[in-house]
Subunit: 292 residues, 2 copies
DNA sequence: TCTTTGTCATAGAGAGGATCAATAACAGAT
DNA sequence: ATCTGTTATTGATCCTCTCTATGACAAAGA
């Protein structure tokens, strides 16, 4: 049985006011329209829903039964619309970002500051996570933008724009004499190496650079954050590969020294990842356009 | 927010098939119509509900939230329609009658037999009850027809048709000599009187007859059913006022004797009562037309 | 790379149904 | 009897949905 659900809306109002004229008013219709709709409904269902009295209408037994169901159905639709309204407000004033820890300090922070200054009422949700988990979250729709190092090979992910992030190798002042001339990659391996824990894309990036030259990088320290790497490098434990932006102030103040290499260290490329075909929230759109 | 609920129906199918073309098929519409409806819904709610992919559509976060609500709402409407269908079948094959005990045997039974013979599949629900309670049940819609003694003064009740039911006074053979000549009402009061318990309309009817002649009827026996009254009269305990139809066979077999009275005992009038303006069920309609 | 296939979107025309204004019909109440 | 408040009916109108035809696009395959 297929019943025009708009008739149910009319029925609902009629049942609640027991008066077709009043129902028409609350529905912003005329009384004959209501009368017509009720008649259609009754004929479609094959049941008389109201007894017509001289001063209004009265639900029949069947009408009463129908009313209970229809009321809960429309209450459900009401709550659906309220829910949507809330979600809309929320998502419009909401920016969800995931990024690698390396990227946050090196690249994201200034943009984020600017965004927050311009749209202070937009709530920012920033999650630091590993690249693989960021992609997962994008795919399940629980974040809007993902900032990851390229390349990203996932079929369902799209990289919107990219940004080069220069890397450098730094040591503490204890190794000052290593800075006098450019180093071959081979000589570099003679230094103790400070690296992130295995599995991170940043570490793979560095290992890949060595491997492309037929050499094996062996980590002497395995630490969990860029901060720790910089800290240990400063104290003279060895050499660390870090985003130049991240260590720029330390290099300027000469607590860290940059090594020159014969083979240049390639830039890494930071990309903005989104789920393919997903429509961006307004906030995400705004943030995106502030980045470039 | 007022949203055309038919759009929700389209949305529901689209969400369930993740494919507007297939949704259109299951809705017996064309794909552009579905596309249009979804667009309307999205614009009205101000939210994008689907991401459009190259092979179908995918619910957005908001769409998923909406879907859950809309689904339960339409499930509710479904169950409403199933409920109505059942009620319809039921009420069409269902006759609900209430009647005074006195009327059942005296008047209703033969008609009921005929009705049952003609419509054996229609379920008959017969409740024996007091007049006041019958009127209550009519007013609350829990019975279709009420068979009661007239007059009925209730504002909300309508009496459709009436039928005269002759009454008589009977005694057992022990009082045979009382039958020789017509009795004045005064003499009648000298007999022990067998009556129904106080409060019944039948008893009021009899008391009213005495009172209209300035006499007081005093009950010697107060019993609860016509059968009991006949039984006690037969055994010679006194005189009972009973519907002539009810005691006809006993009079014929001379186990009960009818007294003649100078002032004739008026007929009682049985009426078919219905709630004013209520539409009768098919079965009730059929039964009604068999009565006259 | 080009074609094919499957998808959704758009445009414009058309039809059908909901809506309306006017009025009738009806029942209670005054 | 008349008045008031209700629902039902009618016929015209208008709007909205639906349709056909076509476009646009993306993915898969030749």
């Amino acid at each position: 049985m297929i019943v025009n659900t708009e008739w149910y809306r009319v029925f609902l109002h009629a049942a609640e006011s027991s008066n077709l004229t009043k129902a028409a008013q609350s529905l912003h219709m005329t009384q004959p329209s209501v009368s017509y709709a009720i008649k259609q409904l009754e004929e479609t269902l094959g049941v008389r829903l109201f007894d017509r009295l001289s001063k209004g209408v009265r639900l029949t037994q069947e009408g009463q039964a129908l009313y209970l169901h229809v009321r809960t159905a429309f209450e459900e639709l009401d709550s659906a619309e309220r829910r949507i309204k809330k979600l809309k407000q929320f998502s419009e004033g909401h920016l969800r970002i995931c990024a690698n820890g390396a990227i946050i300090k090196d690249f994201l922070l200034p943009s984020l500051d600017a965004f927050h200054a311009r749209y202070p009422s937009i709530r920012i949700q920033l999650s630091q996570d590993r690249t693989s988990r960021i992609l997962e979250r994008l795919k399940q729709g629980s974040t809007d933008l993902g900032f990851v190092h390229l390349p990203v090979l996932d079929e369902e992910i799209e990289v919107g724009a990219s940004h080069a992030s220069p890397y450098c190798v730094v040591v503490g002042t204890a190794f000052a004499d290593w800075t006098l001339q450019p180093l071959s990659t081979e000589r570099l391996t003679e230094l103790p190496l400070l690296m992130l824990s295995p599995g991170s894309t940043t570490r793979s990036f560095i290992e890949g650079w060595f491997q492309s030259q037929g050499l094996e990088a062996e980590a002497d320290f395995e630490l969990n954050s860029l901060d720790m790497l910089a800290e240990f490098a400063e104290r003279g434990y060895g050499a660390a590969f870090l985003p130049r932006g991240f260590v720029a102030s330390r290099i300027a103040s000469r607590t860290l020294l940059e090594l020159r290499t014969e083979v240049p260290i390639p830039d890494r490329h930071i990309g903005i990842a989104v789920r393919k075909h997903s429509s961006l929230s307004l906030a995400a759109e705004a943030f995106w356009s502030m980045l470039f």
